[in-house]
Amino acid sequence: GQQVMQIPQYQHVQEGEDFTTYCNSSTTLSNIQWYKQRPGGHPVFLIQLVKSGEVKKQKRLTFQFGEAKKNSSLHITATQTTDVGTYFCAGRGSRGGADGLTFGKGTHLIIQP
């Protein structure tokens, strides 16, 4: 079945440093979504990427979808304490999950002041 791998599992950064999490699928995806979950909270939808090679920005966050539509990344510039949380990617393919949406295991971002 479809698998979505996310790395790293944990990332410690100093406040102000950049952060990147990567998502890789075993199959070609029709689209990919990114979510953020604050500690003790629930996942919140950030963005969806659909087109091959697509790049979208939200303030300090940059999202990319690979040319082959099998990988994606989220990059945060100059992290702030408000960025703390777990970032999940969710890829939509042809099988698995509901709507074919499969979540990665998430990357926990820990920021040291």
Binding site: Q33, H42, F88, G97, G106
Partner: protein
């Protein structure tokens, strides 16, 4: 703010009890989902529904059951709670087109003693 509501927010219950976790949304979404998530861990899909009278089991086997009699309501029931059911249960909904992300509720943190 998300228009999807889960009750109760926290529940501590004894082994063998029957429980129902409530989930309601006011967005008119056809699709609804239940995920199970242990603290700091990945999301596991346990049930989903594409509309009234439609229910499907997710990727993770679960002893719970669901019903979808009304569009806005998607309750989850455990007939006999066990300590292994201790977890967080997250309800989510989305539009039918699949062109937008999921809206998650705040979750129910269940502890079975």
């Amino acid at each position: 703010e998300a228009d999807i509501y889960q009750t109760p927010r926290y529940l501590v219950i004894g082994t063998g009890k029957k429980i129902t976790l409530e989930c309601s949304q006011t967005m008119g979404h056809d699709k609804m989902y239940w995920y199970q998530q242990d603290p700091g861990m990945e999301l596991h899909l346990i049930h989903y529904s594409y509309g009234v009278n439609s229910t499907e089991k997710g990727d993770l086997s679960s002893e719970s059951t669901v019903s979808r009699i009304r569009t806005e309501h998607f309750p989850l029931t455990l007939e006999s709670a066990r300590p292994s059911h201790t977890s967080q249960y997250l309800c989510a909904s989305s539009v039918s087109s699949g062109l937008s992300g999921y809206t998650f509720g705040s979750g129910t943190r269940l502890t079975v003693v």
